[in-house]
Symmetry: C2
Subunit: 506 residues, 2 copies
């Protein structure tokens, strides 16, 4: 097993962390005997540890184009990112207490922003276009607001692969004196280290390093200060004894991965392009997300969403067939909320699938996946609770013909429970007209309810869908766009949930 | 190498972290292939990781006598301890913002306390007796003060081995509604897990686990809340993907170490007792620190201090002879301040040596150490800058006879520079009488200056030593106690440093 990722040909979830790179495993084992001691101790064991740590720091700094004293090792990519953001705010307290970040950052940035807000700070969020790209003009405009102390922008998005204009953002922000913190993570694997950026971070798990290593770069002149208690470790920039064997392994795999990055990036980009082309052709009611232009996205990652699909059931179906993928659907998360990235893009969150490849995945693996995808989707669509008994594997729900509003699914235990009987005039909260109550029903059911009910409404007339699933806002809007129908407006109800007014156009 | 610590027979610095336990190395290697993935992912790799993590958590919880859901894994013992303290304060904000801890806690507690103070909190510190044991009555009395939200007490001290009355403290504090946070670290290796304590922590490096694993136990009913941003890891109690292979290795070595703890504890206690007996007999001007009663201290750790010794030079001398020890002397630390533990005890900090043993150290290793100790001390004492040229290896500086005040060392570049010439009346800041200016001179020189100069003063008369080394306060007082002389008082000088008034009694 000398090929990275060998034995993981069905693992399409590289962006959640790679299996250990062979050189990481070797380096870890070698460093285990000589790197276990605290490198700050004045003992032989401590000195041997310090030699390994210094060498690893020097090698990683060279790879990243920074000075060794600008690079610290933290216990994870999330630690590094949170400390980058909050440490930049701490160092810039005189400038103000406002944090700016894009709407599609890693959840660690949102966690840091929540913490900052709870401790008296303010947070501004810059939106993105439907491809997930931040509006640079808006971003810079927000950064000019009084009191903005730090801005955060990822190099590339971890869910849809969209590259952000970090170099240009850093240049413009430098002009107005606001430091940019960049989450370099996924871009660093096959792309460039951020240049001209005062602070950036990375997570070693993304290139086959072990858990337990995050990289934090604070360039000379940046006003970063430790936001949390520190001790003497890592020149006062980290806490606890450095995990030297893991650091050595992380750096070895970084260099090995990046040595091959141009060729491997091209190879993976080809496989991803194949997926992007083929998925919409073989699976109905599916949208591929992210920029069409290959230069505008990561080479190894693609995301698509499928209507009328329970994301968790789809993951289970793929898993059964030997493929590991990820999903930003609400039904696969503990929180029951859909991915904030997909919501910010206004994308369909239902049946969301993220595929992220790695050196252990070959052409035949992608072809195997593409071959099983249509059937897997059909099976899961057929299993959706409340789906029409007439929908069978192979029959695409795009052809669903549903009954009229008010009688739809009546008598079925898992059908919309509050559908108003025909003729009833007093809708909840004074809503008039046809009303479909999908409250209490989770993704993908509200969209499925709408898809079945709308054909029962006259063309030009309206149907109001009541829903309290957090995914409904994104998904009903996305459905209307995909189907050429009109989402007229939406109103939060006093009685709970939101009313979505949909006009049937065709 | 199946014996833990084999190959490290001269490594007497176990309290700074042990070489990897053989079962840790095995477990790490086994878990490396199956535990690399994020255990929260809904993929096959994620599930295999989760199975390993669950099993490790269950095993560790059983070993510690707690429930699995009360135990979290953090990236280091320092992380765990800081989060234990600040998380208890966060969870008890309604009760107040006062933190109480003993004066001899781990530096992580002082780091957390500084942070708490900078963020608007208050901190109370309870003193210790000369053996390093907290005064329980004072501790509980301070805990009764209004606004005390959390109290912190270590199970046993990491520098001198003194056991603290944690069980009794927890009982009394429970009675007044103040939760106790216990740093269980060193006690956990050969002793008991804390019982009846709401929150406690440990560091896997102390029992031969890998770096990167700290344990945090928050018992049911404790009001702990995450003090820093968290994500979903470890049920919201930690940040970043859990380092599963390291956790598995940490737990395997915890169980293996504790399986043998009674016999191993007895064996090491015998070796430590031998060191405690022999050091004062073979090395003049030396004090052994910590409680005399073996039940009152850790079995595997002993600390002593030697007059007229540069701690760093002594460590280097031991290192040259194949022994790794630790020191709380100021000259071995980056900060130039002596160990806060030794200062709180009022102990001599000069020439401080901490020895902490482990399973790989045998009787013959301790005998080798005891055989080289007197010569090593004599060599380093002879090398001290400004020491009398007449002092040679084997000649103990306790016999030093120095010249008269005012002429002592005159003309020597590294002798006290500001010694007042005889007859000069106007001493700095209006000090009268014989004055020895040791300002600008570092440990162990101020004590050496006093030892040389005092014989030049008449019995019953006084000599004032000016010193600005932070170690001087502890060390001049300790010297006077050891020599039967009287430290009359001490005064901070406007011109910098402190004036110590010493009366010659004999």
């Amino acid at each position: 097993m000398n090929q990275p990722g060998a034995g993981y040909s069905g693992y399409f979830d590289a962006a959640a962390g790679l299996p250990p790179h062979p050189v990481a495993a070797e380096a870890m084992q070698a460093a285990w005997q000589d790197g276990w001691a605290d490198p700050s101790r004045l003992t032989g064991a401590g000195r041997r540890s310090a030699v390994l740590l210094d060498a690893a720091r020097q090698a990683a700094a060279t790879e990243l184009g920074v000075r060794p004293d600008e690079l610290s090792f933290l216990p994870s990519g999330v630690h590094a990112l949170q400390q980058a953001v909050l440490g930049s705010l701490a160092g810039r307290r005189r400038a103000g207490t406002v944090l700016l970040h894009s709407a599609v950052e890693h959840s660690a940035v949102f966690g840091a922003a929540d913490w900052h807000r709870q401790h008296g700070g303010e947070v501004l969020v810059a939106g993105v276009d439907p491809a997930g790209r931040v509006d640079l003009d808006e971003f810079v405009e927000l950064a000019r607001r009084p009191g903005v102390a730090t801005a955060v922008l990822q190099a590339a998005n971890h869910e849809v692969g969209t590259r952000q204009p970090v170099a240009e953002a850093a240049r413009q922000l430098a002009g107005i004196g606001v430091p940019l913190v960049v989450d370099a993570g996924h871009e660093l694997v096959y792309g460039q280290a951020p240049a001209g950026v005062p602070i950036f971070t990375a997570d070693a798990r993304l290139w086959g390093g072990p858990a337990g290593v995050g990289l934090l770069v604070t360039r000379q002149g940046s006003r970063w200060r430790p936001p949390f208690p520190v001790d003497e470790a890592e020149s006062g920039r980290a806490t606890g004894t450095p995990n030297v064997p893991a650091i050595v392994a992380a750096v070895a795999s970084l260099r090995a991965t990046r040595a091959d990055r141009a060729a491997e990036g091209r190879r993976l980009a080809g496989l991803i392009e194949q997926i992007r082309q083929q998925v919409p052709r073989t699976v109905a009611d599916t949208v591929v997300l992210g920029p069409d232009d290959p230069a505008g996205r990561l080479p190894h990652l693609v995301t698509f969403s499928c209507l009328y699909l329970d994301g968790e059931a789809l993951l289970t179906e793929f898993d059964r067939r030997g493929f590991a993928v990820s999903s930003g659907s609400s039904c696969t998360a503990d929180t029951l909320t859909p991915s904030h990235v997909l919501v910010a893009m206004g994308a369909l969150t239902s049946g969301n699938v993220r595929i992220s490849l790695h050196p252990g995945v070959g052409q035949t693996d992608v072809e195997r996946f593409l071959a099983v995808l249509p059937e897997a989707v059909a099976i899961v669509r057929a299993q959706a609770p409340g789906s029409s008994p007439g929908v069978l594997p192979g029959v695409l729900p795009g052809d669903l013909a549903a009954g009229a509003v008010g009688s739809l699914g009546a008598g079925q235990a898992d059908a919309p429970s509050g559908t108003l009987p025909r003729g009833q005039r007093s809708a909840p909260d004074g809503l008039a007209g046809s009303v479909l109550d999908s409250r209490g029903r989770r993704c993908p059911l509200p969209v499925l309810d709408l898809a079945r009910a709308l054909p029962g409404v006259d063309i030009g007339s309206e149907l109001t869908v009541l829903a309290d699933d957090p995914a409904a806002a994104s998904d009903l809007a996305a459905w209307c766009r995909m189907r050429g129908q009109q989402l007229v407006d939406q109103t939060v109800l006093d009685s709970g949930g939101t009313a979505y007014r949909v006009r049937r156009l065709r």
